[in-house]
């Protein structure tokens, strides 16, 4: 029977929710990895029972866990993330150069075709890959060694590589995004990279149109239109129709265009979702009203979606990896909040209901559509 499995990473562990295609009655599994920060969990598109989790702690560092049974049992894998060669330096907050130092894995992106191949986006920003199911990790150093590297700098959350997009039509093409450096593209399977930030405008950096230095919060892509990218920047919602070579602002009639998440409808490549946040200094929804905004026109024209979401006294945030979309015929949308709620919409955002209300702060949400 078709259904979905929602993978939830939180500040104090992981949860797995399962349900059928109706998406009304949920089974909650967890707490997995109790007491640990789970920045991200994701399943392999090639083997839905193969899951990977990034587990970390300020005391004990980074671990990677793997499940081969859909999250019932887990095995710790290799946790050695060593930069290739001499790590070099990047820009520090005071303008000086600072050595690259590994801190944690923010995002795990399994290959579209091979369950044993996974990309890991880490802080300080770099891209690692395993091709043996997590038994060993190796950096793809061409990204960190990009000539712009010394000008990358940490955002408020650290200098993290948080977004990895694999082009389903071109195995050599990978997009990534870093806070605060910007977006980058590789056309040779990760060996070399170019910044793709033309058209971004960030008034908080010395040159607002610089090739790097932009605080990109998240980037999304529809698999049927992999040359079209949607970006939630620190401020501004953007789109590119030429694989990131140029960007246009599509904030349009949004009440605020600050935010973290952005995602694309499973069956409508021009329908996109964001959660507007009041400002860079006030990380909560406008007027205490939690609203997802949907554009059915690829941006510029937006509609608020509030049915079932709290419309008063709500001051949570929705972090950059905390929205996901299933591929059932009636597309399901999921997002988690720093207040520990996970909301689900089984009807493309028209109505919402909480799956749970009282988890630790939610760091990430992923969803698997099960046959």
């Amino acid at each position: 029977m078709p259904g979905v499995r929602v993978l939830v990473g939180t500040k104090k562990g992981a949860f797995i929710f399962t349900t059928d295609a109706q998406r009304k009655d949920w089974q909650v599994s967890g707490l997995h990895f109790a007491g640990w920060e789970i920045y991200h969990l994701k399943g392999s598109p090639a083997d839905p029972n193969r899951l990977y989790a990034s587990q970390s702690s300020g005391w004990f560092g980074q671990l990677i866990q793997r499940s081969d049974d859909g999250g019932l049992t887990w095995t710790p894998m290799d946790n050695k993330f060593t930069y290739e060669g001499t790590p070099g330096t990047h820009m520090w907050n005071d303008g000086t150069q600072h050595p690259w130092e590994f801190k944690r894995v923010w995002h795990l992106e399994p290959s579209l075709t091979d369950p044993d191949t996974v990309y890991a986006g880490v802080e300080d920003a770099a891209l690692f890959r395993t091709t043996d199911g997590g038994k060993s990790w190796h950096e793809l150093p061409g990204l960190r060694n990009n000539e712009t590297g010394p000008r990358w700098q940490p955002g408020a959350g650290g200098m993290c590589l948080h977004t990895i997009l694999l082009d389903p039509t071109n195995p050599d093409r990978i997009y990534i995004a870093i806070s605060a450096a910007g977006a980058f593209r590789s056309d040779d399977a990760g060996q070399s990279w170019k910044p793709i930030n033309k058209g971004l405008y960030s008034k908080y950096i010395p040159d607002p149109t610089a090739d790097v230095g932009h605080c990109v919060h998240h980037v999304a892509m529809h698999p049927s239109k992999p040359s079209t990218l949607f970006m939630q920047k620190h401020w501004d919602v953007m789109r590119s129709d030429d694989s990131g070579d140029s960007w246009q602002k599509i904030s349009g009639d949004l009440p605020t265009d600050f935010g973290f998440v952005i995602d694309v409808h499973a069956h409508e490549p021009e329908t996109i979702y964001i959660v507007p946040i009041k400002s860079d200094s006030e990380h909560f929804p406008l007027d205490g009203q939690l609203r997802v905004y949907r554009s059915r026109t690829g941006g510029n024209s937006w509609e608020p979606l509030a049915n079932g979401l709290p419309q008063q006294d709500c001051y949570v945030n929705v972090l950059r990896d905390a929205m996901a979309i299933d591929t059932l015929p009636s597309c399901g949308i999921y997002f988690g909040t720093t207040g520990g709620q996970v909301y689900a919409s089984p009807d493309s955002g028209d109505s919402w209901a909480p799956i749970v209300r009282d988890l630790p702060a939610v760091l990430s949400i992923e969803v698997q559509t099960l046959a």
Binding site: G35, S57, W59, F60, G61, L63, P76, N79, K80
Partner: protein, 103 residues
Amino acid sequence: MSTTTIRIELPTHLRTLAQLTTHETALEVPQPTTLSAVLSTLEARYPALRGTIRDHTTLQRRPFLRFFACEKDITHESADAPLPEAILSGKEPLLIIGAIAGG
């Protein structure tokens, strides 16, 4: 090779990671029985602990961990110095402790 039996107490999270069900574990550690030798033996016995107590490459202690022996903090003593006699005799366990920090 001569060995010494060393009793070790781990923080809760590391006990879970090592799948230990008891409060402490005992290791046969090659002599000379130093803190460094104990940690290497511990990591060899429980590979999941690699990188959680000290850095994979530099072998530097992770900042929020401490080592206690015989009611003394030996964190900043040389990792290559002999451990106290009470640890070597098994009278006292070596304690690996997570610092009180965070929320």
